[in-house]
Amino acid sequence: MWRQKVACCISLAALVLASMERARAAENFAVKTFVPTFNGSDSLGANVSTILALRLWATLRPRPRPNPNNLYFGVGQIEWSRRTIEEPQAAMQAGTETGSQIVLWGDAREYGPGVIVLSNLVIPPSEGSARARQTWTVTVKDASMELGLPGAGYQFSPLIIGSDVVAKYSRPNQVRVCEAKLADCTGELLGNPFRADRIEGNFAFVRRPSGATGWVSLPNLSASQSEVIGFTAALISYFRGDFEQAENFFSNVRDGKPAPGQDIREYRSEGVVRNDAALLAGVSKFRRGQGIEGLRSAHAQNPYSRYAVQALVMADIALAASPRSGDAKAAHVKEASELVESYRDLFPPDDPWLSAADRSLRNLN
């Protein structure tokens, strides 16, 4: 079986931190996403994962515009590999081995008379500074509440691949460098290594070590690719502290709107992805200082989510602890206290988050 010889790409982007939380100005850090070759009986999986990796890279922004606060988001990396992954535990392990915070893996397979591409995302357990970047912390005096992510793995909606895309991308070596922005050409294969300088619409402008440059077509594979790209890009932004972009991308996934730069009709996200996108859009919005309403809305939408309750309680406590809370302090303490009491039975008695929430509320009184 031929495997397309495409580059493993590590995209490095110096970005900036745009949030109301304290910028980590001097800290140099990287958030890496590992994209192994998607499984499949022919080259379709390899071509699709290459296109998704480049699409994902296109969402890494160097800095917010405008950037009056000269913020810093560290380094974003997308690593594409020829390795294939077949199950979630192996994806977790690959993430740990490559030092990646996110692994986007999947396969392309026949289903009835057509082909579908199944994409999955896992977030391997992490330690130290990487874990800290995935964790929202609210501290009131001696009490610190920590909240990670609502889930560690996601199954995205399947990409329904049209017969034209299947015909073209089931052949090996279909990602080629063209002299102009063309969907198809007989230019050289996208070998490795290469640098991608910029994205314009559905094309990436690439440069190779020889100095040769050209355009690589990034076709729209399926409406659902917006869910895959949008949610993964939102998580990367969240881990980097780019809460403005995280909120935008999570909101797009929640609302079924296309990812940036994609000329694709609206879609409906997979149920769990949509729910968690709504939660994390609310958290991102709050963490960039744009209010608590997104979290109230997510809680109202799904009152059975303990994560939504925890996020809302933390937001209330953070607002109550703010020196500017003024007359609103009592209302925030009341809302947080009532939520904690109402949902107390969903926590083990010795749960560290619950203990910290109780201590925080005592500290505020």
Binding site: K5, L12, R83, E87, Q93, E110, Q155, N192, P193, S342
Partner: protein, 223 residues
């Protein structure tokens, strides 16, 4: 938009050996999802049913991989298949359920329908019917790419519901409440999915039972 970022692309030429998966957890309980697969009438139907089975197995694995701690750590779910000559009657499903530690038993019947295969599932939930009055759920699906999301989400809702009921049966409420609520909440998220009218009607009773179970455990907080 101009990209100032430098992009370094390097090849990983050697396919890395994938290390052994993390050692299986020491499980206390095992539950089987048994597919009783009726021999398909022709080669096309056979192909459709086989691809459906493989995806179902993968989906169950991926669906439950997120619930591997706390009260759920003790439950390991496996999917098994058994070929049968004829469509199994209800007493066969029920007997199969009782013969082993089961999560659910599905009769799986594939028939050819023009260019695609139709797969009919009668799903018996046995002890894990929860507040469903009838322990059977029926799902019928065309094996077509555009229908796959519906198929996956419908089966996910049923599997998660049974899994939540299984957790509830293996641990006292004070230890299992959150795990049960978490899994039921996940199942509940499929209520608003874009299921077609046929799939929705088959799942209507289940989608009414899920919130009943959530409320019974005060998963939405004590009022």
């Amino acid at each position: 938009m101009h990209r100032l970022a430098a992009i370094l692309l390097t090849a990983v030429l050697a396919a890395s050996a994938i290390g052994p998966a993390r050692a299986a957890e020491n499980v206390d309980a095992r539950r089987i999802i048994l597919l009783l697969v009726v021999k398909p009438p022709d080669e096309n139907a056979e192909k459709g049913v086989r691809s459906w089975i493989q995806l179902f197995q993968n989906n169950v694995r991926d669906l439950l991989s997120d619930f591997s701690s706390g009260a759920t750590r003790g439950i390991k779910v496996e999917v098994a298949t058994r070929d049968v000559p004829d469509t199994p009657r209800q007493n066969v499903l029920e007997a199969s359920f009782a013969q082993q530690p089961s999560l659910q038993v599905l009769s799986t019947v594939g028939t050819s329908g023009g260019q695609s295969t139709l797969v009919d599932n009668d799903i018996y939930l046995g002890d894990f019917k929860g507040s469903l009055t009838d322990p059977y759920v029926h799902i019928s699906q065309q094996i077509l790419p555009g229908q796959y999301a519906i198929t996956r989400e419908a089966l996910a809702a049923v599997t998660l519901y049974a899994y939540a009921m299984a957790i509830a049966a293996t641990a006292p409420p004070e230890r299992s409440r959150f795990a049960v609520c978490q899994v039921l909440d996940r199942a509940n998220m499929y209520r608003n999915s874009d299921l077609d009218p046929k799939a929705r009607s088959g799942l209507e009773r289940l989608f009414r039972a899920i919130p009943v179970e959530l409320e019974a455990r005060a998963c939405g907080g004590k009022k």
